[in-house]
Amino acid sequence: MNAINAGDTAWMLASSALVMLMTPGLALFYGGLVRQKNVLSTIMHSFFMLGLISVFWVLIGYSLAFGPTVGGIIGNLDWVGLNGVGLEPNPDYAATIPHQAFMIFQLMFAVITPALISGAFAERKRFKSFVLFSLLWSLLVYVPVAHWVWAVGGWIRVLGALDFAGGTVVHITSGVSALVCALVMGKRVGYGSEPMEPHNITMTVLGAGILWFGWFGFNAGSALGANGLATAAFVNTHIAAAMAALAWVTASWIRHGRPSVVGGAAGAVAGLVGITPAAGFVTPMSALIIGFLAGVGCFIAVEVFVRGRVDDALDVFGVHGVGGIIGALATGIFATTKVNPAGFDGLLYGNPRQLAIQALAVVVVAGYAATVTFVLLKLVNAAFGIRVSSSEEHSGLDVSQHGEVAYQS
């Protein structure tokens, strides 16, 4: 029997709480970016996931994602209802903490991932359709991909792809799915012809700050112990976010002639996304360069390639999709076993094969997420209609979907 380590357990419970806080942080980040008439519905898209996906996860999601593998594709049903997931460690995943601590940490990841997508269809998605879509998406996209990449026996893990904290599992799946959502749902009424400015940038910056804070649990917690690796991930997380914030602000300053505050917040998030798969595999200087690449790369993706063409309302693909892809590929370049002997060297350390494996994982996961998301949207649309009516959209989703308003005049 493995012994429980008090320090590791304390750190993992604290990390779980940090990651939990990211979802309300995301709610504020997104909520500030939409128009006043849609702020509550946007916040609800994140907050509701804390309830929905938590219940889904303990009932069946965790078993399918991390249970004993069925051919490397999906977990079996041994752990349904947390049957067999007790307070003894599971050495396959984390030998020094209670199995339930690992489970609750992973639950927080499952919660925030579908919430990330909601930024793409903000201000126009019917709430009941959102609920059904999110549940099915978690079951059919998040759970299998988490199994492929992280579970013992998962086929992408066996292949040797590296994803320390979810660059592929969380950000590429949600970012690519967000792009598909935006394309399938179409643009908001008035997009391109009337202003759709953020209604509360202070809220957005506060949300970004909470996300940054919570991300220490997301990445450093993925070390699954209170140790040197957690410290490396913590340091890398912070400096990548810092560098990306500087890079995005500089890029926006050059392009628009002003150092955008929203850009600073978005840049920090881009850096956090970019370093996520690499956090426990790279040196601090590599993290700094990854932060720069994520900040500039995501800015270019948002400003040059996406905005104006696709109404990805809150730039989910540009930040999470592109940032996740940059991070996954950068892991294949900058990873070194000097930081993490359990990983692999990347291109820069004499192993070009790692970059090819990372690229393969990106292509497969992005293709799978896009395909399933497309089918789900069509199914949900056939069942309920995924989009509110134009009159409801004019009134705002706060009133039309929830019967409430955010601010009393």
């Binding site: 560098m243 500087l246 890079a247 500089t250 300053w253 050059i254 002639g257 002003r258 150092p259 040196t283 200087m285 590599s286 700094l288 360069i289 720069f292």
Partner: protein, 45 residues
């Protein structure tokens, strides 16, 4: 050392950009940008 030099160059390039980029969107003289609101409650009354 190579990565440190690359990171340093990137950082210094951004600092150099901040120096030469425009510092204000409005470029309004200080006296014109003064707050037009009354300074005290008595002025309102």
């Amino acid at each position: 050392m190579g990565l440190t030099i690359v990171a340093l160059v990137l950082f210094l390039a951004m600092v150099a950009a901040w120096v030469v980029l425009p510092g204000s969107m409005m470029a309004v003289p200080i006296e014109e940008s003064a707050d037009p609101m009354p300074a005290t409650v008595s002025q309102v009354a």
